[in-house]
Amino acid sequence: MSNASAPATGAWTPALIQEVIDAHKALPGAMLPILHAIQDRFGYIPDAAIPLISETLSCTRADIHGIITFYHHFRTQPVGRNVIHVCRAEACQAVGSRQLEAHIKKTLNVDYHQTTLDHEFTLEPVYCLGNCACGPSIRVNDDIHGRVTPTRFEELADELTTAVVEVK
């Protein structure tokens, strides 16, 4: 069930990427919609997408690279089966997110922007999920969880790993 919101990891080909670009290129200000669509479809923005976007939207590769790196949401590397965003902002700090953050890093044995060796989890920071009355909050793929204690996190991580095994 939790797997329903797992990030897309479809294999890309230049033709498939071009298809995604073409579906959005007519929009005014098409750049962000295109980058979102590519990442949603393939899990990240492959380097190969840059010359294709550059060609279609008539802008330089350097521009596109600058845009991708400006926004924290976009990534250029494949991610694990689950992406975990930990809220680092003030309201969550007030209810123990600093301890939770340390616990998660230790449990998964990764730092932010890293993926576990088994490719199960990628860890990312986030600054507020809008769940500030019920923190600490984390986002696992598209699901937001509130009042996450270290124990609750371990249960969640277990559920996610088991779910994957069952599917296979």
Partner: protein, 522 residues
């Protein structure tokens, strides 16, 4: 007769297991062969009670909460489907819950009552009345009504909405835009999200009225990517509103058009700043633009553009339906109407509190909030997001009003109230303010880009006991440079929380303190 049971569908309810509660209730009803309909309503914004389950009874809706999935069985056993009130989670009639009853909900009058996507529900509770009134008027009279209301922007800067609209209205006819700022980046805020997830037609109606007022036929909602549920609900609401004739071509046979599209941000706090937002919408990096020109004159794609926060736009339907004066009758001084305050952080009863301007923070945090979640004494409260000062107890009795807050260096901003108990290390909070700026600065100007990095370093040195005196002076000077020399409020206000710690909690910025508290200085 079928019994209706309500289980909220917003992010917070969802984050605490509402989906599971809904499916368990459904199963329990089936097992008992009861005729029960589970309706997914919006949240009432009483977050400490989520998931808040409601049941229709002849006396009105009764509530149960917070309902953990593990408690569903015992609640059903105790007669939840009949509205029985013996279980310890039973709360009586929803409308009688003090926290809700004491509020003045003008903008949030419908949240939690309706199914967010049901146009019928929306219409039942005066939905689209404001739009119908607007269609019957000329554009200047719509703008005048907004001016009469005294509404000021709820996104942070508190600029009078009517005057902004007048500027765009007065620009020569041609392509104009309405852009809704739904980037809601401030920690401790969720009111925009509640509008979008629990009453999306309210925002659609407000934006459509704005379009009629200034002569714009295209709107964009710039939504932060951290809000996947709001994204889904808004997109569906736009489709349904268009099908029902409230949006798109020839709205309600008026001959007027208004098209609306949601665009996703990509995790950049600075894109909440309006010119950065416009850059982002145009497909570039979110670098802040120098003003002038104002977006009202040269905004999106160089055209006259209204940029308004979700809450500013969501106040409009009430104003057009009941008249600007009815809205202006609430409030104090130059802060008219109601403000949606959001209780967050270390709070026992967190949630949305909509009240006329003029209540005190102390009333909010104690009467509504019930003090801290931990039960320990309150130490500091950050109002107005990450760029707002940390307020000590001596400032909690000031009434909430834009001018009053500004007078003592406070920021009402978007209404976030983040509470901290006495276990907080304010040195950590000062450091975080600078760190956040290093992560989120757009990088266009030096005081902000470099200043924030230096700020973190200097605070680390102070806390490590290296030349503490000298470094404190340096930190003070650095703050002043950032305030005076930054192009926008990101760099210009990041010092506010830092300076407030230096002024009101100086003991937390000394090396001794860091040691005693067992904190790591760096």
């Amino acid at each position: 007769m079928t019994t209706t049971v309500y289980v909220p569908c917003d992010t917070t309810a969802h984050s605490l297991g509402a989906d599971k509660v809904a499916s368990l209730l459904e199963r329990a009803a089936r097992e008992r062969s009861l005729d029960v309909t589970i309706k997914r309503n919006g949240s009432r914004g009483l977050f400490w009670l989520e998931p808040l389950v409601e049941v229709d009874t002849p006396e009105g809706r009764v509530a149960y909460g917070p309902v953990d999935p593990s408690e569903v069985a015992s609640l059903v056993e105790a007669g939840l489907f009949d509205g029985a009130q013996t279980h310890e989670r039973a709360l009586g009639l929803t409308e009688e819950i003090e926290y809700l009853k004491k509020q003045q909900r003008l903008t949030f009058s419908r949240i939690g009552i309706t199914d967010p996507l049901s146009i019928e529900d929306y219409e039942t509770y005066r939905g689209f009345n404001g739009l119908k009134s607007a269609i019957a008027r000329d554009s200047q009279s719509i703008v005048d009504e907004v001016k009469t209301s005294g509404l000021r922007g709820r996104g942070g800067a508190a600029f009078p909405t009517g005057i902004k609209w007048q500027t765009v209205h007065d620009e020569a006819p041609g392509q104009k835009y309405i852009v809704c700022n739904a980037d809601e980046g401030d920690s401790g805020t969720f009111a925009d999200r509640l509008v979008m997830e629990c009453d999306p037609y309210l925002l659609i109606e407000g934006m459509t009225i704005a379009g009629l007022a200034v002569g714009a036929d295209q709107g964009y909602i710039y939504l932060r990517s951290e809000y996947p549920i709001a994204h889904r609900i808004l997109n569906e609401a736009i489709v349904r509103a268009t099908d029902a004739g409230y949006l798109g071509m020839n709205i309600l046979d008026s001959g007027r058009n208004f098209h609306l599209e949601v665009r996703l941000g990509a995790g950049a706090y600075i894109c909440g700043e309006e010119t950065s937002l416009l850059e982002s919408l145009e497909g570039r990096r979110g670098l802040v633009r120098a003003k002038p020109p104002l977006p009202a004159i040269e905004g999106l794609f160089g055209r006259p553009t209204v940029v308004n926060n979700v809450l500013s736009l969501a106040a409009i339907p009430y104003i057009l339906d009941h008249g600007g004066q009815a809205y202006a009758d609430y409030g104090m001084g130059r802060s008219r109407g109601t403000i949606a305050m959001q209780l967050a952080g270390n709070v026992k009863r967190g949630g949305l509190v909509e009240l006329a301007f003029g209540t005190t923070l102390s009333d909010l945090m104690n009467d509504f909030g019930g003090g801290t979640l931990s039960g320990r004494p309150l130490k500091a409260v950050q109002v107005g997001g990450p760029l707002g000062a940390y307020l000590p107890e001596s400032q909690w009795n000031n009434p909430i009003d834009y001018e009053g807050f500004a007078a003592f260096g406070g920021v009402v901003g978007h209404g976030g109230v983040v509470m901290f108990d006495d276990s907080v290390d304010m040195g950590d909070q000062a450091r975080f303010a600078m760190e956040f700026c290093t992560v989120e600065s757009c990088g266009k100007c030096t005081p902000c880009r470099i200043g924030a990095v230096r700020g973190v370093e200097v605070i680390d040195r102070i806390r490590a006991g290296e030349n503490a005196e000298k470094n404190l002076t340096l930190l003070g000077e650095l703050c002043e440079t950032m305030v005076d020399g930054s192009l926008c409020a990101m760099g210009g206000m990041t010092p506010f929380p830092v300076q407030s710690v230096m002024t009101h909690f100086p003991e937390d910025l000394t090396p001794q303190y860091a040691k005693e508290a067992g904190g790591t200085p760096c």
